[in-house]
């Protein structure tokens, strides 16, 4: 079975740094790997089967992000130049375009970045291998070239207050920047692109920009691992039954049978990182994993809540592998009963 066949008549979703970064979210999940590799629109799929999530972005946040970026780029990037301390270099904006001119923009990107001339290059068009396919990345970045080396500059609108920022926001930005580093390296070679990226954020409670350097080596290796996992997805897809399809014109019940044919690995973290999570949560109801990784571990790794309770009450005999966990659970149940009035 091919990736396109899985998607049916629905067009493939275009990737951006955010969707690629999200691939690192739950690397153990085959369902997600297949859906992402095939370019399935998970928001539409989840809505179609009656389990919509809330993954929107506030327009206030978008507006502030745009305002901050516009401010940095005004007057030929005057403010950006000063915060990056880059002096007089060229600024090239490769702009946005439609599907049919992507190739041309990619060509211009290649020639500009390949020339090794010091410059700020905005909106370069990059490509990345995802699941054996070359996808265009719609990047929102500036590459700064100096002395033959490129640095990724990422503009984010979350605030850095007294040198500290929201850790979730920073790690999200680091993964996205790592996606760009990876794509740039694929284009120009590893030694041309620095693993240190520059994050430009508003500082304290003003819109004054501040630049900080992040080392994204860790994020790079996670991404590489996950992308290589995705490339092995083709063998997984080859083994799927022929009825499996995510053509959105199919009925919800057909789509659900297709989903159940691919193994998932739901954890509560999915709720904030994967568009399928409301469906997967309801499917995983009754599993200890749905209560959280640490809960499952504390319950001796037993998979089902009902088994946990049966073992704790001594209602069933434990399998040989469960003996230790069962003894702990029985003891825990006894202590709970004793302490509760």
């Amino acid at each position: 079975m091919s990736l396109d066949r899985l998607r049916g008549t629905t067009p493939a979703k275009r990737h951006n740094a955010r969707t690629i970064a999200a691939l690192t979210g739950n690397p153990g999940c085959s369902r997600r790997a297949v859906l992402d590799a095939a370019g399935i629109d998970k928001v539409k799929l989840a809505t179609r089967i009656g389990f919509p999530g809330s993954f929107g972005q506030s327009r206030f946040a978008l507006a502030r992000g745009n305002a901050f970026e516009a401010m940095l780029k005004a007057d030929d990037c005057a403010l950006l130049r000063s915060v990056l301390d880059v002096g007089v270099v060229d600024y090239h904006d490769l702009g946005a375009d439609s599907d049919d001119t992507l190739g041309a923009r990619h060509g211009r990107t290649l020639s500009l970045l390949g020339s090794a001339r010091p410059a700020l290059v905005d909106h370069p068009l990059l490509t990345l291998e995802v699941a054996g396919q070359t996808v265009f990345l719609e990047p929102d970045l500036i590459a700064f070239q100096s002395e033959g080396r490129l640095r990724v500059v990422e503009i984010k609108s979350f605030a850095i207050v007294d040198g500290q920022a929201d850790s979730a926001a920073v790690s999200g930005a680091a993964v996205q920047a790592a996606v760009y580093v990876l794509a740039l390296r694929a284009l120009l070679g590893d030694d041309r692109v620095s693993h240190e990226v520059v994050l430009v954020c508003p500082s304290n409670f003003s819109l004054q920009p501040v630049a900080v350097v992040l080392d994204v080596r860790k994020q790079l290796s996670t991404l590489r691992r996950q992308l290589s996992r995705l490339s092995s997805v083709s063998s997984l897809i080859a083994g799927l039954p022929s009825f499996v399809s995510f053509d959105l014109s199919l009925s919800p019940s057909d789509l659900i049978s297709s989903l159940t044919a691919i193994e998932a690995r739901y954890v509560p973290e999915c709720l904030s990182s994967c568009e399928m999570s409301v469906y997967c949560r309801s499917e995983a109801a009754g599993s200890t994993a749905a209560l959280g990784r640490s809960v499952r571990e504390s319950l001796g790794g037993i998979e089902e809540v009902s088994t946990v309770l049966d073992l704790a009450r001594g209602a069933v005999a434990p399998d040989p592998g469960q003996a230790e966990a069962a003894a702990l659970l029985r003891q825990a149940a006894r202590l709970r009963d004793e302490a509760l009035p």
């Binding site: 929107g56 506030s58 609108s157 409670f205 209560l291 640490s294 009902s306």
Partner: protein, 474 residues
């Protein structure tokens, strides 16, 4: 997570109702709390959108910033919040009591009560911490003058946010943390962060919790759909309906906050909750004094010595809080029993009059034998305590395996009076059920840190730069 709490989650899932994980209340609940629900503007760095606040359930007060990106409105909000919150905070700085210090050689005074500000969740605490940061350095004159109450509010908020990091402190509690300390739901911790859903698990059950998930959030972040479809047009048009909309949005959380307080009040307070509140009153009294004498805002960042000292204080508080909870609550102690750090048993032999006269002076050292069927992970020489007699130490002399478990021989010291004969009842008698644990309430002195003035500047010593009147320009 402990296996006992994990088991309670499993039970809650099966029952469709939250299950208790505490038999007593582990925090002080004030008779006159101040409830505060802040809402932030998405995307902005700590811009308030609204707040619902007050000290009585039937009297919520709503503050709204009609144009959240307008700097003047933002500081008008801060001034209004200050006008309501600061008088509450200061209202406890009245009557004092004397406390003996230095073994009774001296006394100091502390206020007999302290404020308690309740927030819905830790996000609210973070919001207030940043709001404190953005207001405490503001100057009341110069280019961007603010109302004098604003920097004072900032200092108070920074103080309160600082106390919320101290385990066991109850000056700035939040409802989600307080409830999850006492109940386990049948969902994940991530889902418990939604106050409405958490309350529904406790009050009505799983089905109601799923419905509540789709209900209004408890802030400080708003729902993106709400932002895009409701809030944006209201703000863009300067629509007077903004107030009513925000009032309706916040009201369910407001009610939930007071229901959470009622749920907690219904639990009996643990024995050691009062002494932790004493510590909170000390902290409050000291801060009132600081404001009266010097009043400088807290620095942006602690120096290295201050940071290390603070870290150690927090670690000590955490250890003390863990032990106190276990001593107060058999259900918490059960976690230590499961791990082998505590065991229950029955006294089978007792020699209450035993005197050890091998040293310079004879000392009273009774011995008891405790038979237990529980896991025992203690070695001879270890020092144990029993919650029933916290002042007494029990040294393990030997641990012997028996057909049903273990016999533990213990030598007792302390808590038996000053004579060579034990006070009646101070030594366990044969047949008494006893709980023994390696946990100890004993005070552990902290490491000595150099005085800041003697610290090299590389470690945060002088010169001290206090940018107290700096204003961030926007």
């Amino acid at each position: 997570m402990s296996t006992l709490v994990a088991l309670a989650r499993a039970e809650a899932y099966a029952a469709g109702r939250a299950q208790p994980i505490a038999t007593v209340r582990h925090l002080h609940v004030h008779d006159r709390p101040f409830v505060l629900i802040p809402l932030a503007m998405a995307g902005e760095a700590n811009a308030p959108l609204a707040a619902m606040l007050g000290t009585a359930h039937d009297d919520p007060h709503l503050l709204v910033v009609e144009q959240p990106r307008n700097r003047d409105e933002r500081f008008a909000f801060a001034a209004e919040l200050a006008a309501r919150l600061v008088p509450y905070l200061e209202s406890f700085a009245g009557e004092t009591e004397a406390v003996a210090v230095d073994r009774g050689r001296d006394v100091r005074h502390r206020f007999v009560d302290a404020p308690q500000v309740w927030l819905p969740n830790t996000g609210g605490v973070d919001f207030l911490r940043l709001f404190g940061r953005s207001t405490r350095f503001r100057s009341v004159d110069g280019d961007y003058p603010v109302h004098p109450a604003v920097p004072l509010l900032g200092r108070w908020l920074t103080f309160l946010a600082g106390t919320s990091e101290v385990p066991g402190s109850s000056l700035l509690p939040n409802a989600v943390q307080a409830l999850t300390l006492h109940w386990a739901t049948g969902q994940s911790g991530a889902e418990d962060a939604h106050l409405g859903s958490l309350l529904a698990w406790i009050e009505s059950g799983a089905a109601a919790a799923r419905l509540a998930e789709r209900g209004p959030v408890a802030g400080p972040a708003t729902d993106p759909d709400f932002d895009n479809h409701v809030l944006a047009p209201l703000i863009a048009n300067g629509d007077p309906a903004l107030r009513t909309t925000l009032h309706e949005l916040l009201l369910p959380t407001w009610d939930g906050m007071w229901r959470a307080l009622a749920l907690l009040r219904a639990l009996p307070a643990g024995d050691r909750v009062g002494s932790r509140w004493d510590g909170d009153r000390d902290a409050y009294s000291a801060y009132v004094q600081h404001l009266a004498e010097d009043g400088a805002p807290q620095p942006r960042r602690d120096g290295a010595v201050a940071a290390a000292a603070r870290l150690q204080r927090l670690e000590n508080a955490a250890a003390r809080y863990a032990v106190q909870r276990a001593f107060d609550d058999p259900l918490v102690m059960a976690e230590y029993r499961l791990a082998g750090a505590a065991f229950g048993g029955v006294v089978t032999l007792a020699n209450p009059d035993r005197v050890d006269d091998t040293g310079k002076r004879p000392v009273l050292r009774p011995r008891i034998m405790v038979a237990t069927t529980e896991t025992v992970r203690v070695e001879p020489g270890a020092s144990l305590t029993s919650p029933a007699r916290p002042a007494q130490k029990a040294k393990v002399i030997s641990v012997t395996a028996t057909a049903t478990g273990h016999d533990v021989l213990l030598e007792l010291s302390g808590g038996m009076g000053r004579k060579l004969v034990a006070e009646p009842g101070s030594v366990s008698a044969v047949g008494e059920s006893l709980l023994l644990t390696t946990l100890s309430e004993a005070y552990r002195p902290g490491a000595a840190f150099p005085d800041p003035s003697e610290t090299p500047w590389t470690h945060g010593g002088p010169p001290v730069v206090v940018e107290s009147v700096h204003a961030d320009h926007e």
